[in-house]
Amino acid sequence: MSAHAERATLFLLDQPRSAWHDQAVWWVRQKRDRAASALPEWEELRDQASRIKAHALSRLADYLEQFERNAVRLGARVHWARDADEHNRIVHDILAERGVTRLVKSKSMLTEECHLNPYLMSRGIEVVDTDLGERIVQLAKEPPSHIVMPAIHKKKEEIGELFHDKLGTPQGLADPQQLTEAARAHLREKFLAAQAGLTGVNFAIAETGGFVVCTNEGNADLGASLPALHVACMGVEKIVPRAKDLGVFLRLLARSATGQAVTAYSSHFHGPKPGGELHIVIVDNGRSRLLGRDEFRRSLQCIRCGACMNTCPVYRRSGGHSYGVTVPGPIGSVLAPSVDAAKHAGLPFASSLCGSCTDVCPVKIDLHHQLLAWRAELARNGLAPRWKRIGAKAGGFVLRSTLLYRVAGWLARRLVPLLPRALVYSRLNAWGRGRELPEMPRRSFRAEWRRRGKP
């Protein structure tokens, strides 16, 4: 069993809880459906977004240079990081040079990917994740399980216990409103005490040198606009060519992610605030490698909405932690193997290839085809699980020969009904753990066809 399959099996042991998780995430899919169906032009928007991103990827270096020029003109400092390590060093240096020991952070999948938090914390910088879901998992010392709803796997009673332990809320308090109020007070102190704020970037605008950060909680703005120092981290693929392109993406993003028409805040940052500093860190970390791959390039169009996770029947029944990667679900299973193919070889197989993700993706990434392409890539490099390789070889061998195939089928139909049930449904029969085998008919279709004297 792959690591994902093992963790998924454990996840499902708690039947009521796994059913609750499935239903909770499905509900977000339903909210997306309602919001999307309110726009008759939804499919055209998806198409437009996909084409804008595809174009941007075809001129990425040019647009990044244009972005940098404009950002610098506005007074920002722009840094470039080849990989996660360099990103972490750059961010640390910016903070350390200014004596920053208290940092607040809003949601950035990129910084999760680079494992920035432990890097900074081991060097004496307090890092407080300010998105409520992220703060919850940070206090619980867990990774987020969803890119938009980091604590979707947690029940309110558990959050209540956590807050009682860490924030001093009354024992047994589980009301979301009151727990949020407690977090508000706690994080407000952190915002006020912070010496720097770090945000992600939802979209970077080449034409203007600015970028957009979308939140519902207002935490990015409190973090970026209270302290004098704002650090914004972005992957190279976050570029859009023109400000007006944002209209397409902002109409798609929140509807796809949570079913809202738009997030509470879509903040457009152009240059530092008066008297402040703005540092933008542009990160590659394997994205240029993906760009060069025809089959996988489209995954760089991702706007991190999470819709693919919400619709994925496998994600909903296994939870984000079962993937063992920063970004889980369908897009995560496409991105992870490009980072470490050997470690994440199981992920493209953690899918029934149903294709639902492809049809909800606002930028029309053909996710399930990319999962299939990864399977072939892994097999080519000898990284597919051994039993799969052997099974495919054996199966291919038998099926190439009509005679061998007919004999194999005949043997199955003759022998299986004769064997004792205990043998048929032994531990070796993975199918038989939860299901009955098909009833073996006496004759195959082709035998029946022949008996009828048909052509």
């Binding site: 174009h55 949570t258 240029s288």
Partner: protein, 195 residues
């Protein structure tokens, strides 16, 4: 080779075949009644939309709001707000705005499809004001309503300083998907539609 050059070189080496940038175009469905659509969208976003005839009605309309009446510290960038008692021009450190209970901020434009109001930091001095205040009121002229985001970007020049599309109060659903209004930003957002 520095990181910048290396990254750009790698991106150029990996670059795919050219793909055309599609023409920017309008997609929306014009609402029959922009004001009604806008008001509904503000409500859907957890805010309130109040229509007033003119700016001179604003002080009285604000009095209708309990958070405003009960506010000790009120900051306003819109003139004529009677309870305003924070002189923003005297505030040097944005942290000193921590006790602002209510902020009144002008909006340049409103978007009917999602109840968003475009605000900027022009004249604001401290752009954190609309987030650090416990409650916020946004004031928009009703002839400055557009249908959707495409139209908004056509009307606005977003390329300088700081601006934000604000739709309703701050909110979160991070605890078991239960919607809680008032996360880290304002606990309430009232949009006054003037005209």
């Amino acid at each position: 080779m520095g990181s910048r050059e290396e990254i750009l070189a790698r991106l150029r080496a990996a670059r795919p075949a050219p793909r055309e940038l599609p023409e920017a175009r309008r997609f929306g469905n014009p609402a029959a009644d922009l004001r009604a659509r806008f008001a509904q969208a503000v409500q859907d976003a957890g805010g309130r939309c109040v229509r007033i005839g003119g700016l001179d009605s604003l002080p009285a309309a604000l009095e209708e709001l309990a958070p405003y009446r009960e506010a000790h510290r009120v900051a306003s960038l819109v003139p004529g707000v009677t309870r305003a008692n924070v002189r923003l021009e005297d505030v040097v450190d944005p942290h000193d705005l921590r006790d602002v209970d209510f902020a009144v901020v002008p909006g340049e434009l409103g978007i009917a499809e999602n109840g968003a109001v475009w605000i900027t930091d022009r004249g604001m001095r401290h752009r954190v004001l609309p987030w650090i205040a416990q409650h916020v009121a946004l004031v928009v002229a009703d002839d400055r309503l557009v249908n959707d985001m495409h139209e908004a970007y056509e009307c606005l020049d977003v390329g300088t300083g700081f601006g934000c599309f604000v739709s309703g109060p701050s909110k979160t659903a991070d605890i078991e998907q239960a919607l809680v209004i008032g996360a880290h930003g304002p606990r309430s957002a009232t949009v006054f539609l003037v005209g």
